[in-house]
Symmetry: C2
Subunit: 333 residues, 2 copies
DNA sequence: GAATTCATTGTAATCGATTACATTTTGAAT
DNA sequence: ATTCAAAATGTAATCGATTACAATGAATTC
């Protein structure tokens, strides 16, 4: 292995000078620089990043904790994160929690052990206090989710108002008996989207039927299962608001397999606008989150935190958008 | 920051002893161990991984280079990799190349700089020789793709025979005029799947119409575009073999938008069996790759390489499976 | 009781780059 | 030619854990 001393020897300078050349400090004479560069080239020298990291105590790595990497919403956020990261000289360490709180907390140690300079959480299942504590000591940004009263910088859409918007869309179409497949109650996301749904219903004076509020876990399967329960009710809902697209698609599959049609018999609205939402048939009416941009903004904030720059604010709310496609329609009954 | 010397001082031992306790060397007396553990606990000490890495010159990190993280096939492979990695004490550094060769080669430096102990490539767009050279110096495993005559360990299915199987399925159904949407010709994957297709046609004595072989880039959009070209032909094909599911779904969308039906008018077969293949309508006939297992096997091999264990063989071919669903049907014309 | 072995612990070198501080060189000013 | 500041370079400490080697002490053997 070629070390900095080897380069120094070859170029007939000290290691300090070589290091200066590498880091472009600008204090090295032109011909010395050239000599060093030539030596680096001829030895095919690559600085040992570990040594640099130890000395500078920085890793140029950030940890991204994702609940489900196979969900294209998250993978798009991740892509936004990664591309800004690379351009800023950072690498991305991946943590896929499989929606498991224990696994999630395991990843927190990576920060404590200084294996990453900061962390972006795309999920927050573990105890809020634990995250708060970590965030006091290390740079942390939460994306997608948002915790009230927290000091941790956040990038997300306004989930409550988006969910309200989605529900209002259905109400405006004349639906009254609306079922909702929520996200897990132990996630803020799940709770917020339910809250928005409830607000819309309340504002239009529609009483809430607790049978029509069922918890899902953001998976296709859970959407399917919950919908089957709805369909088994004496009076099934005429419309469904699902807290994400995967569950919405699951619900539609369940509806279809009962011989019913979407949107003719039951309207369905999803959330996220994953890649597949527009491809699926019927194309899904959904709330479009600016996934890529959420990722970009999150990493920008994180890098500012790492550099101890001031943030102008703590909570960045990006614009969402209701995209009306084929899966929702006027209520006929 | 708490250092090992702080713990040593508090427990009244040397740093060596603390280190021994941490690494479970088993040579430390019971009550000393307890004393050290207590000190670690009370100081809330976490070893600085950077220092350990430098000293041991290992990072316990592996780099995974993916062509497209939003493709659920790759994210499932990635998930397989990550779960085995975590269980073996490794972390995953993510490299999303966006199908760009330049970006891909940028990631290779991570290995050279010792920021990862090894690498798994889920793509290989860069010059084969470059990869070969890297693989001579560092542990590298290629998954999904496979290069003939290479020394680099590989995990994949037999793409040629799988593609042949898919094409034969269509031929057996009576199709003769079969179009294929290939992967990019600069990827082995694209070439291998085309080769399988050609073999099947040749074996059944069906002459190849070069108009019916069109290059795609594995994206939904390219599937759509190529299909439109096929449909504009004087005699369009009665069946399509697409080199991955995303393109197959794109093709089906194009077919439907012309007012034609799948499989009644045109049969379509895909490749990969992504999450969405069974959900889409018509459910996609496709080749199922054991994505999760490919990931697991790849990381197992890589860890063996890192530990300089012997591999019993260099190329692991996993079982694929033709899954016949709704998108393919007997040829009527 | 001396010699030997083994278990336990300590001392200090080491990984390789960075950088504070020290020293030398350069060039301008007088 | 001398002085002095600025520029360029060098020396050596440093980051924090690991580990080769050394040292100590206890147990065992003869």
């Amino acid at each position: 292995m070629v070390r900095i001393v080897d380069v120094a020897k070859k170029a007939n300078v000290s290691t300090a000078t070589v290091s200066r050349v590498i880091s472009n400090s600008g204090t090295v004479k032109k011909d010395t620089t050239e000599r060093v560069l030539k030596a680096i080239e001829s030895l095919n020298y690559q600085p040992n990043i570990l040594a640099r990291q130890l000395r500078r105590s920085e890793t140029k790595t950030i940890l991204v904790v994702v609940p489900d990497i196979t969900n294209t919403f998250f993978s798009k956020v991740l892509r936004g994160i990664e591309s800004v990261a690379i351009d800023s000289g950072y690498q991305v360490l991946l943590g896929d929690t499989l929606n498991d709180a224990e696994r999630e907390s395991g990843y927190l140690n990576i920060l404590r052990q200084k294996k990453a300079d900061g962390m972006i959480l795309l999920t927050a299942k573990v105890d809020g206090q634990v995250v708060e504590d970590i965030a006091k000591q290390y740079p942390v940004v939460i994306a997608c989710e948002y915790t009230e009263g927290s000091e941790i910088p956040t990038v997300s859409i306004d989930n409550v108002s988006s969910a309200r918007k989605a529900a209002e869309h259905l109400i405006t179409l004349g639906h009254r008996r609306i079922g909702t497949i929520t996200g897990p109650f132990d996630s803020v996301l799940g709770r917020d989207r339910l809250k928005g749904f409830q607000q819309a219903m309340a504002q239009h004076g529609i009483p809430l039927d607790s049978l029509l509020v069922q918890e899902g876990d953001f998976s296709f399967e859970s959407g399917c299962n919950v919908m089957q329960k709805f369909l088994a009710l004496g009076v099934p809902p005429t419309a469904i608001f699902a807290a994400n697209d995967e569950m919405a698609i699951g619900a539609i599959k369940a509806i279809k397999s009962k011989g019913l049609k979407v949107p003719e018999d039951i309207s369905v609205v999803g959330f996220d606008n994953i890649k597949f939402a527009s491809i699926f048939e019927p194309a899904l009416t959904t709330i479009a989150q600016p996934s890529y941009e959420i990722g970009q903004k999150a990493i920008e904030l994180l890098i500012k935190l790492i550099n101890k720059d001031e943030l102008d604010k703590n909570q960045y709310i990006l614009e969402d958008k209701l995209i009306v496609r084929e899966s929702s329609k006027k209520c006929l009954s």
